[in-house]
Symmetry: C2
Subunit: 249 residues, 2 copies
């Protein structure tokens, strides 16, 4: 790790820590070739957001948590970048929700699946959590997607009513929405297809968004779904924050 | 290469081609660990720019070319990403300007220097161009920088009066400006320290900016430095384009 990443008081600490996690994951074979580029795109949007959790992102995270909490069959989808950046937080959230994690990746190869699954198993053992991890034996497909990227578990993603898909690509997000699911996306680009198509979109950096949800899971007594939650207003608020950053300069 | 990257009519062709070049360069050991992330950040800003050369970027490219053309000792600085993405265009520009290319990288190791130098030598031979390539034997340092990243050639970067440093980090840009040089930067983030500090900043994707310069080198009869060129106005115009993209949504 870069020297300054070892010092939590450094202003770039969070950013450097995430890069370090990606480097470790890349060495373990967990990442697709496009993983680092995708992360850099996120960094640019986070820069415009001021690298902080905005009020609208906090609202979105609370709504997302409430939707997952009140779901009949919630599931958390994990791809290579999510496993690299936030395995512990995802496992903790799954434990709170008593729901499975399902490894579901865009560029699916047996080697990458195995690398991600074994990393999650390791972290699960370290944290001592009782969480079901799926992805090893897909027996169903997501309608509307072609090839290996459609593969999923019938008792996981296929049967879910509410699904958290952080850092998801537009086609898959659309396919899940078309299945009638409540789709929660975490995406720093408020203009992305995933951000627009999702039921609830958290425009925040992945680990900050998960921290907001985990903190609320411990501190909020009653998680309520807000019936007046306005997806488009929340997205516009994120856009407005970025506009302000560009204008203030 | 991804299938669609083989089809120039595909809307993502240019973007996928650049990713492919980075992957090839990574395999050859030319890139630093942060290279892909940096590229992704650029992609996000290019997305806001509409992935096109704006009028203000064109103006900046023409001013940059004129400054380099009228320089006494112009030099083109090349780092890992620049070599990966645009070696041919950089070599052609150096040939037009009859000036050296100098490989100058932030995370300097003998292995990376060798990988980049040998790639440039290969491309130079393929293109049949007579261009001096420096970087192999630095005998001077850039004042104000520490460690290996300060190393440069006394008859290259050190002696230059006008220098093109595409995709340069803020500290190095600042050090070059402090040496009294005319510094031309190509940077998709108009808010970056490099973009602000440079004498001329082209807010455009690297290969598009170089194409603009190369085309002008063939078609513009007299390259004139515009004495009324307004660096800040050009940067603001780029910012305004991005604001428009966010607002139009």
């Amino acid at each position: 790790m870069d020297d300054i990443a070892a010092d939590p008081s450094h202003p770039r600490y969070a950013s450097l820590l995430m890069r370090h996690r990606l480097e470790v994951a890349a060495e373990r074979g967990m990442l697709a070739g496009s993983a680092m580029i995708a992360h850099g795109r996120g960094e640019a949007f986070d820069y415009l957001l001021g690298e902080r959790t905005t009020e609208s992102a906090r609202l979105a995270s609370l709504q997302a948590l409430a939707c997952l909490h009140h779901a009949t069959r919630p599931v958390l989808s994990v791809n290579g970048n999510v496993a690299a950046l936030a395995s512990d937080a995802m496992l903790r959230l799954a434990a709170f929700l008593s729901c499975p994690l399902e490894v579901n990746i865009f560029y699916r190869t047996p080697e990458r699946m195995e690398a991600i699954l074994s990393f999650l198993d390791e972290r699960k053992a370290v944290l001592g959590l009782d969480v079901e991890i799926l992805g090893h034996a897909p027996d169903a497909t997501i309608p509307g997607l072609k090839g290996p990227r459609a593969a999923c578990h019938s008792d996981g993603i296929l049967a879910s009513d509410v699904i958290l898909v952080p850092l998801e690509d537009g086609d898959r997000c659309e396919a899940l929405v078309n299945m009638g699911k409540t789709v929660v996306v975490i995406d720093l680009n408020p203009l992305s297809r995933s951000a627009k198509l999702a039921s609830v979109t958290i425009v925040d950096e992945l680990s900050r968004a998960l921290d907001t949800m985990l903190e609320a899971s411990e501190t909020v007594k009653r998680l309520r779904i807000d019936p007046s939650y306005d997806h488009h207003a929340v997205l516009n608020a994120a856009l407005q924050e970025m506009l302000n950053a560009l204008e203030e300069d």
